[in-house]
């Protein structure tokens, strides 16, 4: 309970921060800052990017998912793995690698393109899973009623994919609201980059707080949309009855086109960034590699990841337990709040924590514990979902038996539940850990003086266009965060499909 209250308090901090800042600056002046044309311009920019990248990602993601699941393409399993490779490259590294070689890519179109390349797997994966889980009888019925393949796709298949597409799409739109590093390299302005500019010229100004307010509203709106879709859709996708063999569609003369599309996509989305980083690594002789510094930075990054992920799991356990076992309104709300924080850019969480630490908790200011709290706030939902997935599978009867034997609830949790959900806890730790590895803006604000993580180092060096010097740090970042993220996502998706098969069998 205490943990839940503490969490609710932490979560309301960004809102409180905006209000206090506005009060400091005077309500009239704050309103003036909020209602100027610049805010409107940023709003248009932000929404334009979110819409563009989301739509393009959905188009590409649905196409790749269909090709991988439903066409007669050879090596479809391999393609499925290749298509999700972009997960291995953090978006800001992908953007900087593109810009270091093709500077003309900057602006709206470049931003849409580069961010689509690094985000479309978020649509591909759920859509592919939905296609796999779909009952083919429906399609067969449609075909038997005389509808062609194309008509069947639009009338029968696509409606069933709606939830998967919308879910992935909203996730991407949220990413677009919070993206900073990539957009900075691509020279495209959104609320998040504008807040960073404000921070750059005035550290923590009322103008930044007012921009944050609009961003908070946008994130809330997006989350509400997600809530609506989840509420309506999720159960509908649960499969009943046993599926027959899914008939694969022969591509015929379109096969070369489909192959060309996949090859080009792979080159653009994963090949180019990885290739460019390798290129800078190889030409990096101009910038002598400072190995001790690289190792030191790596050690710091790993230790932050460890501390932050443990803290996130400690916060997540009581939250998930409450939400799953005592499904009250309060528990549900407490369970959902972290998702709101998660949708915020790191810079907002950073500014908020700095604001409150300076005023009310100076001992924490510029210390590792505050940074770890920031990480835990930002990435809590990843620990929650992993733990929840494990907890819902733990039979309640086991706990009840233990309770009936006279153990109290906490002890039952420690001795029965916790060991059973250990895999979920482990997955949660890993997911949060990997997110922390590549976090940039909150780290810039909250870190102790003189401390660099791999991400801040890459940022600092590329900021001065020292691409070759930054390459070893970028490569290290891909190796310790990108690749594991990639493997984890792939594993979780292939595993869930297997489990479905077992249930159906």
């Amino acid at each position: 309970m205490l943990a839940v209250l503490l969490l609710a308090a932490l979560s309301s901090l960004p809102v409180l921060y905006v209000i206090l800042r506005a009060q400091d600056a005077g309500w009239a002046y704050s309103a003036e800052l909020l209602l100027r044309p610049r805010i409107f311009e940023l709003l248009v920019n932000t929404l334009k990017l979110a819409a563009g990248a989301t739509l393009l990602s959905c188009l590409i993601g649905v196409t790749t998912a269909w090709l991988v699941e439903r066409s007669d393409l050879s090596y479809r399993k391999v393609w499925n793995a290749i298509v999700t490779l972009p997960f291995a490259v953090p978006a800001f590294i992908s953007a900087y690698s593109w810009i270091s070689v093709f500077p003309r890519l900057e602006g709206f179109y470049g931003a849409v393109l580069v961010l689509t390349f690094s985000n479309f797997p978020l649509v591909h994966l759920p859509v592919a899973a939905a296609l796999r889980g779909m009952d083919p009888a429906l399609e067969e019925t449609s075909r038997s009623l005389g509808f062609g393949r194309i008509a069947t796709f639009f009338k029968v298949v696509l409606p069933q994919l709606k939830v998967a597409i919308l879910g992935g799409g909203i996730l991407i739109a949220l990413h677009m609201l919070a993206e900073f590093g990539a957009l900075s390299f691509l020279n495209y302005e959104t609320f998040t980059t504008a807040i960073f500019d404000q921070y750059y010229v005035a550290f923590n100004s009322a103008a930044a707080a007012m921009m944050t307010l609009v961003l908070l509203l946008l994130c809330m709106g997006m989350l509400f949309l997600e809530f609506l879709i989840r509420g309506r859709g999720y159960y509908a996708t649960e499969r009943k009855g046993s599926p027959g063999e899914i008939e694969l569609v022969a591509l015929g003369k379109w096969k070369p086109v489909a192959l060309l599309f996949l090859v080009l996509l792979t080159i653009m989305a994963a090949g180019a960034p990885l290739g460019i980083i390798t290129y800078w690594l190889l030409v990096g002789s101009s910038a002598a590699l400072d190995l001790p510094d690289l190792l030191n930075t790596l050690q710091i990054t790993l230790s932050f990841g460890l501390g932050g992920s443990v803290l996130a799991v400690i916060f997540a356990l009581p939250l998930v337990f409450l939400a799953v076992r005592y499904q009250g309104k309060f528990a549900t709300l407490a369970d959902r709040i972290p998702y709101f924080i998660h949708s915020l850019p790191g810079i907002v969480v950073g500014l908020t924590l700095v604001f409150f630490a300076v005023r009310y908790a100076f001992v924490l200011y510029q210390t590792v514990p505050l940074l770890l709290i920031g990480y835990a706030m930002l990435f809590l939902p990843m620990a929650q979902s992993a733990i929840r997935a494990a907890l819902v599978q733990v039979s309640r009867q086991l706990e009840e038996v233990a309770l009936s034997l006279g153990k109290n609830a906490l002890s039952v949790f420690m001795r029965i539940t916790l060991p059973l959900i250990a895999p979920g806890v482990g997955a949660g730790l890993a997911l949060v850990f990997l997110q922390i590895m590549k976090e940039l803006t909150a780290t810039l604000l909250l870190r102790p003086s003189g401390v660099d993580t791999l991400a801040t180092k890459v940022w600092e060096l590329t900021d001065n266009a020292q691409y070759a010097a930054s390459a070893p740090y970028a490569a290290a970042l891909i190796l310790i965060s990108g690749l594991p993220v990639y493997l984890l996502t792939m594993r979780s998706f292939t595993r869930s499909s297997k489990r479905e098969k077992v249930f159906d069998g």
Partner: protein, 337 residues
């Protein structure tokens, strides 16, 4: 019953403690410097300083304006002993708020009077000139404007770039407000917004000129001088253009440092000031950053001689605009920030 909880608590505590211990946060330093200056030159100077005095230094990097405002927000408990900024504006802002400690006479004496605060609250370390960097394949020196005030004219539309978040650009704007008045400065800024392309970093703007994406850019001299040193002038498409007419475009901005009143390590801080203004410190800074040393005993290599620069008159002291606040307000008003 408490067994489980204890074990859980112990485990979590151990994990967090392990994380803390692994964190190689630099061991307690004798001095904390908030530095907005270019890192490589600063670090080189600090290493020499530590070697000579044994005083260990920890730096927090950021933009100059950001760090100065951060100190204001931190108030009395600021961990910073020294702030070292790219322009003098953030220092003057802090001095106006009474947050700075007078610098020792020994350090002040190293630097000519006009490049330091009268009351000794801050001291200039390096200077640089605003310039136009142009692509010689796209435009000739003769065709370039003779004043940056002309950039708002229609013929310069989409021809040039500027960096709105650059501190030096903001000083230029402050100087404009002082010289021509706020209304004229606002009209000028609106014209720049309309005609110019905005880049986020000076180096990015210079790279765009070098590639031929844009004909010229308003930057500081040293970005180009540093690049010219590294690759050789003959291999570059870009050149520097000084207007030579005491125009706003040739504004000289002063980078400096100050000691915080709240510093608990004032002795070490004063030692740093003496080193940074002294010949050794100044030589390292100049060598590494291609900026002009403020200590007249230290020479420059390859730069246009400091005595030949033609900054606009009356801009060494920007008076009430020297804290840069009006410039930022104008940037917000015009919708650039």
């Amino acid at each position: 019953m408490t067994n489980g909880i204890k074990r859980f608590a112990k485990l979590s505590a151990a994990a967090i403690a392990a994380a803390m211990m692994m964190t190689a946060v630099p061991a307690s330093a004798d001095l904390v410097i908030y530095s907005g200056q270019h890192k490589s030159a600063t670090i080189a100077m600090l290493e020499a300083f530590t070697e000579e005095t044994g005083i260990k230094v920890n730096t927090r990097e950021g933009s100059s304006n950001e760090l100065a405002h951060q100190i204001v927000e931190e108030g009395k408990r600021s961990p910073a002993d020294i702030i070292y900024t790219e322009e003098s504006t953030p220092l003057i802002m802090l001095a106006n708020k009474g947050l700075l400690e007078p610098i020792s006479q020994a350090a002040l004496d190293n630097i000519p009077k006009e490049y330091r605060a009268e009351d000794g609250s801050w001291v200039g370390l390096l200077a640089r000139s605003r310039v136009l960097a142009y692509n010689k394949n796209m435009i000739t020196e003769k065709e370039l404007p003779t004043s940056v005030l002309d950039l708002v004219k229609p013929e310069w539309k989409n021809k040039f770039a500027f960096v709105k978040t650059s501190g030096a650009f903001q000083v230029q704007l402050s100087a404009m407000i002082k010289l021509e008045g706020r209304d004229a400065a606002k009209a000028w800024l609106e014209g720049l917004k309309k005609n110019g392309k905005v880049y986020r970093h000076n180096k990015a703007a210079l790279d765009a000129v070098e590639r031929g994406d844009i004909a010229f850019a308003m930057i500081n001299n040293y970005y180009w001088d540093k690049m010219a040193r590294e690759v050789g002038v003959d291999n570059l498409n870009s050149r520097l253009y000084f207007m030579g007419t005491h125009d706003l475009g040739d504004l000289v901005t002063v980078s400096g440092a100050a000691i915080l009143k709240t510093s608990k390590n004032k002795e070490e801080a004063q030692a740093f000031m003496e080193f940074a203004t002294g010949e050794k410190g100044q030589a390292i800074l100049t060598e590494m950053s291609a900026q002009y040393p403020m200590n007249p005993k230290v020479g420059t290599k390859g730069l246009k001689p400091f005595s030949e620069l033609t900054p606009p008159n009356g801009t060494l002291d920007l008076g009430e605009y020297s804290d840069g606040k009006a410039a930022i307000e104008l940037l917000q008003e015009v919708g650039l920030l």
